[in-house]
Symmetry: C2
Subunit: 333 residues, 2 copies
């Protein structure tokens, strides 16, 4: 009876069956008080990220499998942002109402699809009720690159700033989904996919770490906010050229049709999970070549400046605008 | 202006200041994409537990500091239930509305007080909005005892069943808080404290692991549900004597006054975070002595039986009742 609400123990039985595949280094999996895994020793990266119904997603634009995927991708992306490799994950799910077996299978199935794509095993977690709406919190443990984790604080004046992939696609996809027009959805499939099934940039992060990137972060709150984080942590400023910010053909076409500014989606949309990074000129060029060889193109978008210059977005006509306040802040409207 | 709602970045600045104390083995703390800590190698226990407003607490019975404490205690308790030691924690908080500085300080302050009491450092986490109500999810990483983690699956027929401390106090405390009577609160302070500030049984868990307990779990869903977990995982049954279940004097007095059955609070109340464990007779006696020496008394409550006997609660008149269905299930009413 896959569409009858489950008891907690029945839901755990479904989850346990879905997580029964052997995971490397796993010593104790689902069914005990906690998971136990073996680690040879060294540095461990630990991160948690959460998404909530009504804030990060609504069930009319995202399916449960998409939500499982997105929750996993958001946390895995934090490991990518340090140039690391994910090891294993815990998933904590609060259901607004007792879920059916189909719902549990969809949510966890999406998460497993995403975690499997980057060799990350889901080894445990917890489920409970929330008083309203679905909440998913994913913890990921990983290991840094042999050269050490790439931090936000390492950018130096004169470093070049780059970003992987294209930006704003996720925000464009959300615009399409919110519009509710099936025509629009059929016309812009890559944008919808970027929103519902964001890729992890684990391989790009590893290449950037091995090429000696000086600072790195994932684009989760929009390029503006995330670049401001790097500048604040590194005590530097920056100059970004608006024309250099990589936008996809689909995003430009949608913006044209919707009479929107695609740059705003790139700067403030968030959830792109691309990597914004800095590196001294020579290393930067090497990184761009290495990324291109691995079919993970990146783009030069600006330079790191002295802190006194602030964080500036330069328009084609030379006018400058501060990046601060352009990104997403959960507690501001 | 400690009572003005904060922006996300201002809230993070407060959290960062509060978490600035040096933590052992910490390599990267708050302010980057993820936390990084050093681990010498071996087994790592990883667990997550979440509490939600309206389900696990309401703000009229719990202060924010209590909620921070309880969220941390619930996850640390999973480490205790394996006989392990906590290393570090991540805290993921969803606020129903932008919090004030005082609110952030209260919540995190309670969590820090609890984590400090068991040498667990809070090294990172995330904050975001929820569409309704406060949600706190805590991940804890820890290490098992040198003899290995004590699992739920090791109970054998003939083992003795014991439990630390007294049971039902947290449920009694909740009854007092829900009543809203200040007189009742003044009369039963230990029950209220057991509900708002549950202790971690890390030291008791370690003693039990070193004495060779065969199975262990923390009492989070009520003795009935948690003992059923052990029996299911170990493929055994059990006999528990209702008169042997340890109840505090305050709980008996409250039950008398409220005309409630204190045993129901012990069996189905949950959130006691005591440890229920099994061990062969000789080891069991040794464990009880060791616990008593360390002022962590435990009580013998029954024996492990063959699976065919089921999980039975025996009344003083010899009548038996199944433990199944007596505990808390998040998805059943």
């Amino acid at each position: 009876m896959a569409d009858t609400p489950l008891s907690e123990s029945a839901a755990i039985a479904v989850i346990r069956e879905m997580l029964s595949a052997p995971a490397p280094a796993l010593e104790v999996g689902v069914g005990d008080d906690a998971a136990v895994f073996h680690f040879a020793g060294g540095s461990i990266i630990l991160t948690v990220d959460s998404i909530y119904e009504g804030i990060h997603f609504t069930l009319d634009t995202c399916g449960l499998a998409d939500i499982g995927w997105k929750a996993m991708a958001a946390s895995v992306s934090d490991i990518a942002a340090m140039g690391g490799q994910p090891l294993c994950a815990l998933m904590s799910v609060a259901f607004g109402a007792p879920p059916t077996e189909d719902e549990v299978r969809a949510l966890l199935g999406g998460a497993l699809e995403m975690s499997g794509s980057c060799n990350c095993s889901i080894i445990g977690g917890d489920i409970c009720r929330s008083s309203s709406g679905l909440g998913v919190s994913v913890t990921v443990a990983g290991t840094p690159h042999a050269y050490g984790p790439v931090l936000r604080s390492g950018a130096r004046e004169g470093d070049i700033i780059g970003v992987t992939g294209t930006l704003g696609d996720s925000a464009g996809g959300l615009y399409v989904l919110k519009s509710g027009h099936p025509d629009l959805r059929a016309k812009f499939p890559a944008l919808v996919d970027a929103h519902l099934r964001p890729e992890s940039r684990i391989p790009a992060g590893e290449i950037l770490a091995s090429c000696g990137a000086s600072a790195m972060e994932d684009v989760s709150d929009g390029l503006a906010a995330d670049l401001v984080h790097i500048c604040q942590e590194s005590d530097v400023g920056c100059e970004i050229y608006s024309e250099a910010i990589p936008l996809s053909g689909e995003l430009r076409a949608l913006a044209n049709e919707a009479r929107c500014d695609p740059l705003q989606w790139a700067l403030a949309g968030g959830e792109d999970y691309e990597l914004v990074f800095t590196a001294p000129e020579e290393r930067f060029s090497k990184a761009l070549s290495s990324l291109a060889e691995r079919e993970a193109p990146a783009t030069r978008i600006g330079v790191v400046a002295h802190a006194s210059k602030g964080t500036r977005l330069i328009a084609p006509d030379g006018r400058a605008e501060s990046l601060e306040g352009l990104g997403y802040d959960h507690f501001l409207k």
